[in-house]
Symmetry: C2
Subunit: 253 residues, 2 copies
């Protein structure tokens, strides 16, 4: 059972006002009276584009021991802090930045595995949207093997707007697509800031995002499609391979 839940009006109001990015989702007990305090919480959540959902008391009891005084509200909380894209862009770095963007990855195992791989391959961040995406849950934390504390996770309310911002900051956007002309190893990752967009196995990358991509790349598969976390590993390490090979050649000169 995921255990990063908090309950009660005061604790939830606190985290919402001080650290809204850590709140994944809010559940309000069905039929509960909306007093002023509860209304304030719901407004604050909506201002921060956090999903608010009604749930039965039975559902609440799944998350906690019986006899807890929920005060009609529970919230799912991320164990780590997300960062803003603007703050990510201000992080100083020698050389180019490498980013993974996840469009609608809802499976916590895949999400955790991708965070671990991105950190291993020396990527600078993972960007997710707060719609259609798996938030950071204890499962994600566990599967990432602690890597969520070593690589910035950027959460955005609009993937589309974030991609525009990235492009204005000299990032090239690469989207994976089965019908692409180029193979993932046929583009040069060594000479630019770049962001690779990975879509869900079910529905792929949304059209709006695909239309904004500077490059599309494909991957061969002899049996159905590759799992999204395996595909991310292959692309991330191909980029790293190209960078290392180029550095070695530069050293020889």
């Amino acid at each position: 059972m995921e255990n990063n839940y908090i309950y009660g009006k005061n604790p939830i109001f606190e985290v919402l006002s001080k650290n809204p990015k850590r709140v994944n989702k809010i559940y309000i007990q069905k039929g509960f009276f909306y007093d002023k305090r509860l209304k304030n919480i719901v407004d604050l959540a909506r201002d921060n584009k956090i999903i608010v959902q009604e749930a039965s008391l039975q559902k609440f009891a799944e998350f906690f021991e019986p006899n807890v005084n929920f005060q009609g509200i529970i919230a799912s909380i991320s164990p780590v802090e997300y960062i803003e894209l603007e703050d990510f862009l201000e992080i100083e770095k020698e050389g180019y930045k490498k980013l993974i963007i996840l469009d609608g990855i809802s499976d916590p195992h895949n999400f955790g595995a991708i965070i671990r791989t991105a950190a291993a391959a020396g990527f600078d961040g993972v960007l997710i949207s707060n719609h259609r995406s798996c938030p950071i849950t204890p499962t994600v934390e566990k599967i990432s093997s602690g890597a969520i504390n070593h690589i910035p996770i950027i959460k955005t309310t609009s993937l589309s707007a974030s991609i525009e911002t990235l492009k204005k900051h000299d990032f090239w956007v690469i989207a994976t697509q089965m019908q692409a002309k180029d193979n993932y190893y046929e583009i040069d990752y060594t000479d630019m800031n770049f962001a690779v967009v990975m879509g869900s196995e079910g529905s792929g990358i949304s059209k709006t995002i695909l239309n904004k991509a500077d490059f599309t790349i494909k991957m061969e598969s002899n049996f159905e499609s590759l799992n999204v976390s395996a595909a991310t590993a292959v692309i991330a390490y191909e980029a790293l391979r190209q960078i290392r090979v180029k550095e070695k050649i530069a050293l020889r000169k």
Copy 2:
């Protein structure tokens, strides 16, 4: 709950005599009287190097509905048939064969993911040992996304002996090792039959196997080690990339 279990002396004797490779493990109820039939089963299992373990009736009840007449024995059965290395070697193929060898991968998620990736990357088989390895369970089948029916899974009683056999049949054996001199992309996968040995995240590849390897390769990681299924994806696709690039160059000539 894994549900590929059968119980009773007759059904288990049947599958053991006709299809021993499908039997992952046998459990005998603690304190149960070993009659002739039960003794025959245990002998047959040991002849086939299948692990026989005592377990409490309580353990039995975890696998089945209550009130089942176990007759003192249950067996875990693979949903697919494994093949013999000798049969794998006789499969005819134009060009070189590519194989993944797993040394002590006990996590069913990793095992399933590796089978799926191996099939996607056009590998010809996955070889496992029946010691220290995860057998094919329903979880493995599910995570492999059905790929276990599309790529031969070879089961051996001795990894070491199988590697000797492979080498006699013109296979080059490549082992992953943190201290290796070459990076995984610095060897040429295009000109040989090869088998890549992947070890468990905990203990790596056993020394006996490492000593038999023709090449050792390493992978860069900026955060702990890469997950074994991600590492397998990266290496398998690097081999495929080299093969495709070479084919493209050959076509141009």
